[in-house]
């Protein structure tokens, strides 16, 4: 391979700096990214839904995790989210919520 090997030090260094500079910390890694990327198809890029489906943008991570768990347990009926939430483990739901939600609520 002619590519320079990707250094973990670089990953660590650049992980949070620009995000903090922008005032919004984004947790998560590639796994969280891939998991949460599925949500955008219905909830819009970055959780900004331009149409009838509720936006996730601006919701807290705690709220998203709670809502997903309510769908998963059947406590919330939903139309399609009840079927989708059952496809994710509790850990995965936490990762998704942390990735999409406002971070200050996670702590």
């Amino acid at each position: 391979m002619r590519y320079r090997p990707f250094s973990l030090a670089v990953l660590g260094a650049s992980l949070l700096a620009p995000a903090h500079a922008a005032g919004v910390a984004q947790p998560g890694d590639l796994r969280a990214f891939v998991l949460a990327a599925s949500c955008a198809a219905c909830h819009g890029p970055d959780g900004h839904s331009p149409g009838a489906i509720p936006s996730l943008a601006g919701k807290s991570a705690r709220f998203i995790e709670f809502a997903m768990q309510e769908y998963k347990s059947g406590a919330s009926a939903g139309t399609v989210m009840n079927r989708i939430a059952r496809g994710y483990s509790d850990d995965e739901i936490r990762l998704i919520a942390a990735r999409l939600g406002r971070r200050e609520e996670v702590r």
């Binding site: 590519y3 990214f33 955008a40 890029p45 149409g51 079927r83 059952r86 496809g87």
Partner: protein, 427 residues
Amino acid sequence: MALSRRALLRSGAAVALGWLGAGGRVARAAGTQARVVIVGGGFGGATCARYLRQLDPSVEVTLIEREPRYLSCPLSNLVLVGERTLDAQAHGYGGLRALGVRVLFDTVTEIDPVARRVRTAGGTQLDCDRLVLAPGIELRFDAIAGYDAAAAQQLPHAWHAGEQTLLLQRQLAAMPDNGVVLISVPAEPYRCPPGPYERASLIADWMRTQRPRGKLLILDAKDSFTKQALFQSAWQTLYPGLIEWVRGSDGGAVERVDAAARTLYPGFGFNEHRGDVVNVIPPQRAGAIAQRADLSDASGWCPVDQLSFESLRHAGVYVIGDAAIAGKMPKSAFSANSQAKVCAAALLCALHGQALPEPSYANTCYSLVARHYGISVSAVYRLQQGRIEPVAGAGGTSPLEAPSAVRAQEAAYAEGWYASIMADSFG
């Protein structure tokens, strides 16, 4: 809706992954950028371009697409019955350009999958480090005797949105009062498994008031279909006696057509059917360029590694969307969008020499059974023993019994989904 650089930063993708900034750049030999070429700017290709640039703005992404205006298929069944304009199906590539994607409107005519070299009809030649193909489908004009490109001018397929959609729309509008509509449906795999039944439903919805003496016959090569119980119970309630479904083993599999006589012939021993409007959805295979590039197998579709979507036939070349064989995922815009994201992450990991993340894929297909009556089927997928399998106990269809408010909400969500996925795929 162009994403500003700030919005990108806010999305945090590149930031969180550490691929942003000089230190994390993928360097080529002389310090130039890594180059990715994407062939086909539909749901798969556009999404892949967007996410590649979001995850790693240092990578040079060139998207080659034949048409400057993408006409999307989802919701195009509404165009057939005059509930939506074709213009509403059109999307441009400004959003991708705003992200720094180089968009080239040209037709790719030749691909060397070993050298990863692409040639276009316009005479451009491009070399790249990684090549992604998302060319969609090619309709097979050699599968049903008598059904070729010329026959499609009389018996439209309307399985690519555009002129064909308008042709079928005009034929329906001109149909006599007691007209018969025929829809011929192929065996799987084909683009959009519930699409033919949504189409039948919306045409029936229109006929109910506009051509109440008409009939609609679905000639199906299959013996069952997706969301069948939901579709059929809705048909019984909404359009009693209007739609008849003929399954494959009862003579639904069309083997020959007579285009001039608008007649469809199933196999030996079954009656032929003559229609006033005849919609033939023929069998399909991967987009022609994927076959020319030696990426498809005997099935006509492209075998790929189910984690990365890298071709099993040529390293460094990826195939996503309808053209790819992706385990249990249906050929849908949603699937193409989902695969594109997994592929973008995997491709960048390969460039950076990083381990691939565990993938996760999803699909939800909404269907309109009437203008304000929606149903859906959904699944979350995982890699299990190297295969893309739905997660057990999750997903499935809308409930068989539901108040009309729920159906109305799913219909609204079908359009909401469209708005979201267009923004997510094209920007």
